[in-house]
């Protein structure tokens, strides 16, 4: 809530402005862009995970009717003045140069090797089959831990090893904590690689004007301004000659942050052949050409006291970066130890993070980016301690919570948690779930031979990025322009780039409340660098927190100037002078207190701002404000989740029977949008716990390379989610908002995992890796049924 403001729309379930357009098929996606003379690009990709390219023969492909031409990797790369830039270079890290295409060596299956332009999509595809590449296969490095082994072949010889970095650090005194402990729990935890699947795969259309040297790039991106910066830099072009447009973008989940090779290749081909060029991947291509997420092997040790206190942790985390680092992908694994303390007061932590290169498609941010991996560690650890001490997992968590009066709280890993009340969220979740009854029921069901479990987690995460220091050169601000036109209607330009989240709606709500204009009078424009001068983009739940605040700041300027204009108009009406300080804006009307029947409207103010007949001499015409806002700190939403599961004793299938999600994202602008983020987030997190994993064979081929093989959850597999919230406003922005894009995903995976392990605990099971597929659980049942009985019951 904005201080001092009577709120009407903020907090209410306003229907999404963007839905009528999207639902009736009027949405315009990149693949809908059709330009006169447009040609189509197809990309030939390496079928080998690691191979030298000894030669490419494109003659036959180029000779095909309808084919305009073919360019090889070497030819495309030559047109670039520099390789892909990396941001936030870590101390001591090494990394290979990456160019748009593989010229002499391919390092993962799917790396672009040559590109065709033809006058039809089909002809471009046909031509790919006629390009002959002389590959010399090289040893393939698939497994991340093997990759780190000095005896493993090195992918990039000049680097001498497959390590990007190996960084160790500690906070407090973990050795002392372990020495003082009553016991230590440990586990190796696997975070399989996941394949992000937004509804819309990637696409790009490039148009190049030879006469001016100006280029336009329509592209499926979460951050058109970063895309413009990277592409312009690599092509040696001034930024003001490149326009990047993200029209409707059908989801991203992080995989549309990166600037991909295809953007550069398409512009280069458009330059070369003098035609606009379109490329659109299909789902199968997406699996090997768009970055993946997660992918860690985690060695976890935790020291505890008999009373359930977590004393310290030691972590070793391997992160599979794939063949290259990109944008800030290499930094993502370092977020894992940073957030490993979770919501708990533990101060003594030691960690080593090892980023390794493998012959796989690069990894990048995916809904949570480093934080789900952290929440998973700490929330499994809490259950391991509960199991070891014979205590209830709820009690162990409460014992370790950071108390609510400790905020802002600096963690031993250097994060400053803005605000929280973990007990309140947990209390609410326990009440909704009727936790004590769940446990009583579980006891009875177990007597009947049923395998049932309850999982509880309390988690936090970091979002709302900047400030600049946290952004490694990408910028920590967001921009907003608020413009009132002569009819008194408001146009907002935001540098954020919503692509499904619904900020056209939530931003309009903020403006409507703040200026007192009707919701329908507010238009929100984003995604076009020729309209929105600068921005950072949408990721890490920063759009509302940072972009929304930038709008509030611009509104302040607008209101200030509007009052001056209103003063002039009122003076004209009452034929007297007025002190502008006495003019107030309420419900969209400007007036002075003692003359309630004398007022002016936004339409009058807007008209006067441009007509300018009555403006005082020291006031320039126009009514438009620009704000760049950078947050002073990060926000930390939190949540308490409870899941119940039942396992089929014959097949090992896990059914999720209940899911309670209590989330706190500070001020809620629109509950419907927040719930949408939670529903989708839960689905992704639960999918990760039970189903999803990218599988490679020893040759580095992606075996789970289609939606027929890579299992994502269907809606019918879920119970109705039981949602509620607590509201702990953030002190770091005037909205009090915290961001909700990733929270539910982050919590859902360990919640379901804890429930499954809880179900199996009478068999002596303390940890099972995700995804908890039917076969994996069946195997656990097979090995443990003959084993000891014990554990919590």
């Amino acid at each position: 809530m904005i201080a001092g403001q009577v709120s009407k729309l903020i907090g209410s379930r306003v229907k999404r402005k963007e839905d009528p357009r999207l639902i009736t098929g009027e949405g315009k996606y990149t693949d809908d862009v059709i330009l006169p003379g447009m040609a189509y690009m197809a990309v030939l990709r390496s079928p080998y995970a690691h191979a030298r390219i000894n030669g490419i023969d494109t003659a036959q492909a180029a000779a095909l009717p309808d084919v305009l031409g073919v360019m090889t990797g070497a030819e495309v790369n030559e047109r670039c003045s520099e390789p892909f830039p990396l941001f936030a270079i870590l101390e001591g890290m090494q990394y290979p140069e990456r160019w748009p295409m593989a010229a002499t060596k391919a390092n993962y299956v799917g790396e672009p090797v040559a590109a065709v332009v033809a006058s039809s999509r089909a002809a471009a595809r046909d031509a790919l089959d006629l390009i002959e590449v002389d590959y010399e296969p090289l040893p393939v490095v698939v497994d991340m831990e093997t990759a780190a082994d000095p005896d493993t072949p090195v992918i990039f010889e000049e680097m001498g090893s497959n390590l990007c970095y190996e960084a160790s650090d500690q906070a407090g005194d973990p050795d002392r904590a372990f020495a003082e402990a009553d016991g230590v729990v440990e586990a190796r935890m696997e975070q399989p690689r996941l394949i992000p699947n937004p509804m819309e795969p990637r696409a790009t259309v490039a148009d190049y004007e030879r006469s001016s040297g100006n280029a336009t790039l329509w592209v499926t991106t979460q951050n058109p301004h970063i895309e413009r910066m990277v592409v312009a830099q690599m092509l040696g072009m001034p930024e003001n000659k490149l326009r990047v447009v993200a029209i409707d973008v059908g989801g991203g989940f992080g995989c549309k942050i990166n600037t991909y090779s295809e953007s550069l290749i398409a512009i280069i081909l458009a330059q070369e052949f003098g035609r606009p060029v379109k490329w659109a991947e299909d789902r199968t291509e997406h699996f090997v050409s768009t970055s993946h997420g997660r992918g860690q092997a985690q060695y976890v040790q935790a020291a505890y006291k008999k009373d359930g206190t977590l004393l310290g942790m030691k972590l070793k985390i391997y992160a599979d970066l794939g063949a290259y680092a990109q944008v800030i992908s290499h930094v993502i694994p370092t977020l894992t130890p940073s957030l490993a303390p979770g919501v708990y007061a533990c101060r003594d932590i030691g960690w080593t993070t090892v980023g390794v290169f493998t012959n796989k498609i690069p990894y990048d941010a995916y809904r949570g980016a480093g934080r789900p991996e952290a929440a998973y560690i700490i929330e499994r650890v809490m259950d391991l301690i509960a199991d070891a001490t014979g205590k209830d997992p709820v009690a162990v968590r409460r014992k370790n919570f950071i108390p609510k009066d400790a905020f802002p709280y600096e963690t031993p890993t250097g994060m400053i948690y803005d605000s929280a009340d973990y007990d309140a969220a947990l209390d609410k979740a326990l009440a909704i779930a009727d936790y004590d009854k769940l446990r009583a029921d579980q006891k009875a069901q177990r007597k009947d031979g049923r395998i049932v479990g309850v999982g509880v987690t309390v988690t936090t995460e970091v979002c709302g990025f900047g400030p600049a220091a946290a952004m490694g050169g990408l910028g920590g601000f967001e921009s907003a322009t608020v413009r009132v036109d002569p009819m008194g209607k408001v146009t907002v330009l935001t540098g954020a780039s919503p692509h499904g989240q619904g900020e056209e709606t939530s931003f309009a709500q903020i403006v409507a409340d703040d200026l007192g204009v009707p919701f329908d009078d507010v238009e929100v424009i984003h995604g076009d660098t020729s309209i929105v001068a600068r921005g950072v983009g949408t990721f890490g739940s920063r759009t509302l927190v940072v972009g929304g605040t930038a709008i509030v700041k611009a509104n302040e300027q607008i209101k200030e100037k509007a009052k001056l204009i209103a003063t002039a108009l009122l003076e004209n009406k009452i034929e007297d002078t007025l002190d502008p300080q006495l003019v107030t804006l309420e419900d969209g009307l400007f007036s002075v207190q003692d003359m309630p029947d004398q007022y002016v409207t936004w339409a009058e103010v807007g008209a006067e701002a441009y007509d300018g007949q009555l403006l005082p001499e020291d006031l320039d015409p126009g009514l438009e404000a620009v704000s760049f806002w950078e947050p002073p700190g990060l926000t930390f939403p939190f949540s308490a989740h409870i899941a119940t599961v039942e396992i089929d004793p014959d097949t090992g299938e896990v059914s999720l029977t209940r899911y309670v999600s209590v989330d706190d994202c500070g001020t809620v602008i629109n509950p419907t949008l927040v719930e949408g983020q939670i529903h989708g987030g839960l689905a992704q997190g639960i999918g990760q716990a039970l189903l999803e994993q990218a599988v490679w064979d020893d040759e580095g081929q992606l075996v789970s390379g289609s939606l027929m093989d890579y299992a994502m959850p269907f809606a019918q597999e879920f119970p109705m989610f039981e949602l509620d919230r607590t509201v702990t406003p953030s002190p770091v922005n005037p909205l009090g908002a915290k961001g909700i894009g990733e929270m539910a995903t982050i919590s859902a995976t360990p919640t379901v995992a804890n429930a499954v392990v809880d179900a199996l605990s009478p068999l002596g099971v303390t940890h099972v890796d995700i995804p908890m597929t039917a076969e994996r659980i069946w195997r656990v049942l097979q090995t443990h049924r003959r084993g000891r009985r014990g554990g919590r019951s």
């Binding site: 189903l691 939606l707 093989d709 299992a711 994502m712 076969e775 195997r779």
Partner: protein
């Protein structure tokens, strides 16, 4: 995912389709719902020069009763047709239910019974039911046609007794004797909903409670769907109780030569699932018998 260029024909009669088939020979492929054929064409694993679409041949899309009392289903009947047919629901409810478990709504709207059997996907649902229900497959060729017993139909991975010049026109499902219960149970692949393993059972029980006939079809386990003959033998002539089911189910994998071992399930797990779903299908069928 763009197939190689092909010619496309859409005949409106079986006779025309057969003529086209003869004319184009090995270069041609019949197109039914396209939900198996088109994906492999898009991956260019199959590159026919010409497609003969059976979709406009209305004589291939019907569900009715044949003169001999058989339930007759035209080859181009979709899963959706079968799921919603009052006749199928009345005569073989398990078949209608299974149709509703195939893939998703889009697959059910396009996929056909003929395509499913002719394609013989090792994980397809209908092959197991076809074996349990003793389908007779009616075909047409330019010269004549024939009826193929389902037991002689599935030959090998994606290979059936159909000849390249032959069109499957309809399937006949013999009337079930009184006291017969039919059921199909599968573990769906979480990605596609194909059967990781699926078992169909048709069990006939006499007035005295003794099993007089049993046909059990297993899909997903091996290269083709097979009948679990050992299981059937154990069931027949018995008063089926829990112990008999257990014993019979244990042998359900005996007729599977090599269990499939892939991303979705190991051979060992599939072997185990075969016994689990055999037991479930038998139990379920039994509860519907009588």
């Amino acid at each position: 995912m763009i197939p190689q260029a092909f010619d496309y024909y859409a005949p409106t009669s079986v006779a025309d389709a057969l003529r086209l088939l003869r004319q184009h020979g090995d270069d041609a492929k019949l197109l039914a719902g396209g939900h198996s054929l088109l994906p492999i064409m898009k991956l260019r694993l199959s590159t026919p020069q010409c497609l003969i679409d059976l979709g406009r041949i209305s004589e291939l899309r019907f569900i009715g009763e044949a003169d001999d009392g058989c339930l007759a289903i035209g080859a181009m009947s979709t899963y959706h047709d079968i799921k919603n047919s009052a006749l199928v629901q009345e005569r073989v409810p398990a078949l209608a239910e299974a149709a509703g478990e195939v893939g998703d709504v889009q697959v059910q709207n396009k996929g056909t019974i003929g395509g499913s059997l002719a394609h013989a996907d090792p994980a397809g649902d209908f092959p197991a039911l076809a074996l349990a229900l003793n389908f007779e497959l009616v075909t047409a060729t330019a010269r004549s046609g024939r009826t193929i017993a389902i037991d002689r139909f599935f030959r090998d991975l994606l290979t059936t007794a159909l000849r390249p010049n032959e069109i499957l026109t309809e399937v006949h499902i013999p009337a079930l004797p009184a006291g017969t219960g039919v059921a199909y149970q599968k573990l769906p692949n979480k990605a596609s909903h194909y059967a990781v393993v699926g078992v169909a059972a048709a069990i006939t029980v006499g007035d005295d409670g003794v099993c007089t006939d049993a046909r059990v079809g297993v899909t997903g386990a091996g290269a083709t769907a097979v009948r679990a003959r050992n299981t059937e033998r154990i069931l027949k002539g018995k008063h089926i109780d829990a112990a008999v089911i257990r014993r019979a189910a244990k042998r359900a994998g005996a007729n599977v030569e090599d269990f499939n071992d892939d991303l979705h399930a190991s051979a060992e797990y599939r072997e185990h699932l075969t016994t689990v779903f055999a037991a479930r299908a038998i139990e379920d069928a039994l509860s519907r018998a009588g």
